[in-house]
């Protein structure tokens, strides 16, 4: 039975619209005009317990608005949704105890106090007995490799250490459903890897369900087997990560090592030239033409070595979002 069930979920906002200029500002002061913005268009999906799902889309696609509806922060304009058997916007305590949300650009920790103080507050709010709280703090701090940082004022911590503490604070009550909005935002590569490893381990230990948004494709490829792609408020892909390549990238990347340089014009006769420098070249070739084109390449060009690969998933998704080619 799905732990997250969303059906025809939609959200629109009334946004005040004003034109630039003094006269327009005055007009706007006396008579406000509003326009309706459809942040999320009817959206349906479900997530099974224990799944780790990537939620991808460009800025303004509606990802965060969807997460806010799933956590009960905002009311949907239409549709139905259920998370862990509850209707989120009713914000029942039993529901709030089973979920958490981490926002990479926001913090819940008390800025001027050590993270331990925030943990004590969460321990009391979630009714975690003191001994159990200490054991959970020990477990999570070990997983995240945090020790003395917990007793330093949060403002003195690095961004990476702060995010780790944020994760600890959000997970002390052992939520079953995690909504993570850009949890690795702004972190260096090492901190990103640490957060990813931690999330993977948390998911494994507690069979937690995770819905993750991130602009770092490495987060998605490392953690998610399934992705939801959203653009302009509309869901246009829901399936395995690998399926994106088959559906949206019907081409292959052919890398050539040449025994002598070949000019771009000659290469262009075989496919789209992605790069050509000295004796190395890379071509993009449609899948259905691959066998024939490779035969022609081997017959026509001075090739020392040739390799065929799928295009990087990051590139496919970036192209999808920038070119608006999703169907």
């Amino acid at each position: 039975m799905p732990i997250v069930q969303v059906s025809d979920l939609a959200k629109s906002f009334q946004v005040s619209a004003s034109q630039p200029g003094f006269a327009n500002a005055l007009k706007h002061f006396f008579r406000r005009t509003y326009r309706s913005v459809d942040a999320v268009k009817p959206l349906s999906f479900s997530i099974e317990p224990g799944e780790v799902v990537g939620f991808l889309g460009p800025n303004g696609a509606g990802k965060t608005t969807t997460l806010k509806m799933l956590t009960g922060l905002i009311h949907p304009s239409a549709g139905t949704l259920s998370v862990a058997g509850h209707i989120p916007f009713q914000r029942h305590n039993a529901f709030l105890r089973r979920i958490t949300m981490v926002m990479g650009n926001k913090q819940q920790l008390l800025w001027d106090l050590p993270a331990n103080e925030s943990f004590a507050i969460n321990g009391a709010i979630y009714d975690i007995p003191e001994s159990e709280l200490q054991s959970r703090i020990a477990e999570l701090s070990e997983l995240l490799n945090l020790t003395k940082e917990l007793s330093q004022p949060v403002r003195k911590l690095s961004l990476g250490e702060r995010m780790k503490c944020e994760l600890m604070a959000s997970l002390l009550h052992r939520p079953e459903v995690l909504f993570l909005d850009e949890p690795t935002l702004g972190l260096d590569v090492n901190a990103q890897v640490a957060v990813r490893n931690f999330l993977r381990e948390y998911n494994r230990r507690y069979n937690a369900t995770i819905l993750l948004t991130s602009h770092y494709m490495a987060d998605i490829t490392a953690l998610c087997k399934r992705v939801l792609l959203i653009h302009q408020g509309r869901l246009f892909y829901d399936g395995p990560l690998a399926g994106i390549i088959d559906r949206f990238a019907p081409y292959r990347e052919v890398k050539l090592d040449l025994t002598e340089p070949v000019d771009r014009e000659s290469l262009a006769a075989f496919g789209e030239v992605e790069s050509a420098e000295g004796r190395a070249a890379s071509l993009i070739i449609r899948r259905e033409l691959l066998t024939d084109t490779v035969q022609r390449l081997l017959a026509s060009l001075p090739i020392a070595d040739l390799s065929i690969s799928d295009p990087p998933i990051e590139k496919i998704i970036a192209d999808l979002f920038t070119q608006g080619t999703m169907k």
Partner: protein, 267 residues
């Protein structure tokens, strides 16, 4: 719930202590009663004005000291924090917890009162050293009733500001409405003018508003002017209870409606 409140207050108290300079400034910023004391004591001391004032110079000194004490425990600023939380998207984290966000704001105020306690005691001691003639020790009954009235006043002022704070769901700068309510608060609460110095008809009207119960009422109890046998005491607590229930009811409705249209911007 008590354990939760204790932990919340303790953390907020620690947080306030992190801002020591701010506490000093808060206490200094609350010297208005002492300025008013100087004016009223001077005016009441003038032999030409004999019979024109409701209290003796010594009682004015005591009254405004009590006003200072009441102000220390009834200062409410939740609207500013709430507005900031809404604009910065920080309310989201409070809404995600299985506890009403209201408790966060209440504990922040109680934690701050605790942090200011030593400074307030120091100022009071200093006052008694500088004005030995105005020195007095409230009776246990006055003290008990006074503390009850102070916290009733705090609850009333908090409930009023809570209602105004809920307007942040609709207006980005609802704190400006609070600033508007500050005017009647200053002039009708007894902060600048003791209510006994109001003309009788004006006093009767003012007594129907919530403002005199926020400062003047608890101050008069603390200084022993209003005693347990005075019928105005029970009447005062009844008016506080009525306003408090009214504001609480309105606040609860605004909270529910506000949440429905909350967009969690900035989060």
């Amino acid at each position: 719930m008590l354990k939760k409140l204790r932990v919340l207050i303790s953390a907020q108290h620690a947080l306030m202590l992190a801002y020591r300079a701010e506490i000093y400034l808060w206490v200094i910023a609350h010297v208005l009663p002492f300025i008013m004391m100087g004016i009223w004591v001077k005016a009441a001391t003038d032999p030409a004005s004999a019979g024109h004032f409701a209290m003796s110079p010594r009682d004015y000194a005591r009254y405004f000291l009590c006003v200072f004490v009441v102000r220390q425990f009834t200062a409410v600023w939740m609207i500013y924090e709430f507005e900031w939380h809404i604009l910065e998207g920080r309310l989201a984290y409070l809404l995600l917890r299985p506890i009403n966000p209201l408790w966060h704001y209440i504990s922040a105020h109680l934690g701050e009162q605790l942090a200011r306690l030593p400074f307030f005691a120091l100022v009071t001691l200093l006052f008694f050293i500088l004005y030995p003639g105005a020195r007095w020790i409230p009776s246990p009954a006055s003290l008990l009733l006074g503390i009850s009235a102070i916290y009733a006043a705090f609850a009333l002022r908090f409930a009023l500001q809570y209602c105004l704070a809920m307007l942040c769901f609709w207006f980005e700068r609802a704190s400006s409405i609070e600033q508007l309510s500050f005017l009647p608060y200053i002039f009708l609460s007894g902060l600048a003018v003791p209510l006994d110095d109001f003309p009788q008809r004006a006093r009767d009207l003012v007594n129907l508003t919530p403002f005199p119960y926020m400062i003047g009422f608890p101050a008069e109890i603390l200084m022993g002017k209003l005693t347990a046998t005075d019928p105005r005491l029970l009447q005062g607590f009844a008016v506080i209870a009525a306003w408090f229930l009214g504001f609480s009811f309105l606040g609860a409705i605004l909270w529910r409606r506000g949440l429905r249209q909350f967009s969690a911007q900035g989060a």
